[in-house]
């Protein structure tokens, strides 16, 4: 067998258990709601800038739809907040729809509200490995080149922007892939590189 045949045989074990029957009903509902919202949004748009956060909110008539401006991956981006999702166009021009779930022994699985997802997104730390080998960290409206830090095996950072701060830890595996852990508070036994 060729490499291609062997590869397909190996990876054919991956099967999605996704059942779309119910999802399509939900999608129909979402589509109807978005169409309804578009009809309602008229010239009456109120713009409110929250002091200190640099985030602009636009509330439409009746508060049915919210559009905010958020820093995502180092770019100011228009984000639509829906009932249980947020929607925006990423740096590649693709529409991204993000949902989330809270899982716990008492609540089982609960979908996050759009507001909760947006709140998480605002405080998201994003790390990008560019094709020319740089490692750039994004937080709110700031970006930091941490290439030299990574090369020096410095993986913990205290990131501070206007009014916000976060403690970041990068964990690398043997393949050079990494995961990001963030915390609002420092680990007292860890030294952090200050990024401001």
């Amino acid at each position: 067998m060729s490499n291609k045949e062997n590869y397909k045989k190996a990876f054919s074990v991956l099967k999605s258990s996704c059942d779309f029957t119910l999802e399509e009903k939900r999608m129909n509902r979402i589509k109807r709601e978005n169409t309804h919202r578009n009809l309602l949004v008229a010239a009456a748009v109120m713009l409110v800038v929250l002091a200190g956060s640099g985030t602009a909110y636009a509330a439409d008539l009746g508060g049915i739809r919210e559009t905010v401006q958020m820093w995502i991956h180092g770019e100011q981006t228009d984000v639509t907040i829906n009932d249980e999702s947020i929607e925006y166009v990423d740096e590649d021009g693709n529409v991204q729809v993000e949902t989330g779930f809270e899982v716990g022994p008492e609540i089982g699985e609960r979908p996050l509200t759009g507001e909760e997802i947006a709140e998480e997104k605002v405080n998201e730390v994003y790390v990008d490995k560019t094709d020319d080998g740089k490692v750039i960290m994004y937080f709110h409206d700031k970006q930091f080149d941490v290439t030299d830090n990574i090369a020096n095996k410095e993986y913990t950072f205290h990131v501070v922007t206007d009014g916000s701060e976060v403690y970041v830890k990068l964990d690398f595996d043997e393949n050079g892939d990494f995961s990001i852990t963030t915390s609002p508070k420092p680990d007292w036994f860890t030294d952090y590189i200050e990024l401001k």
């Binding site: 590869y7 190996a10 999605s16 979402i30 991204q96 993000e98 899982v103 730390v125 790390v127």
Partner: protein
């Protein structure tokens, strides 16, 4: 043209799942990518040239979503990759070994390897999907193959 989403799901959900899993290394995150990708297809008003165009589009969307999940701190905590692999039924031990070695590759090699060997895309098409250069794809393909050859020995054929 447009294909009804339910029909598209049946045609490509496993392909999307495999591509997403290749990046996320997580069954739960890969399932999320499948859902979100078809939701995005359903909601977009985009018209496509043909089925090939649709397939290309949904794969690119899925790969972007998988990368977004992978770098997000909202990733789900669930079973490890090793535990998940134990739940899979491979035809032969060699298939399992190939699977495990591919999943050990750096992500940038894994994705290219998967699009080439599983989805049958050319270097040029892979470059478009990943929005990178053809030379970059060639390098990643070459390095991915070298690593697989090193790990799998005779089980992996030499290729140019």
């Amino acid at each position: 043209m447009r294909i009804p989403v339910q029909e598209l799901v049946e045609m490509y959900k496993d392909n999307i799942y495999a591509a997403a899993f290749n990046i996320c290394k997580s069954a739960a995150d890969a399932e999320d990518v499948v859902q979100d990708t078809f939701l995005q297809y359903y909601m977009t008003k985009k018209e496509f040239d043909d089925e090939k165009h649709i397939r290309y589009w949904i794969l690119r969307v899925a790969i972007n979503k998988a990368k977004n999940i992978q770098s997000s701190f909202r990733r789900k905590n669930e079973m490890s990759l090793e535990d998940y692999v134990e739940t899979l039924t491979f035809e032969t031990p060699e298939s399992r070994e190939l699977f495990e070695e591919v999943m050990k590759l750096p992500e940038k090699y894994r994705v290219v390897i998967h699009l080439f060997y599983y989805e049958d895309y050319s270097v040029k098409e892979i470059a478009k999907i990943l929005r990178t250069t053809e030379s970059s794809v060639k390098v990643r393909l070459s390095r991915g193959r070298a690593k697989l050859k090193d790990a799998l020995k005779e089980e992996w054929e030499d290729e140019q």
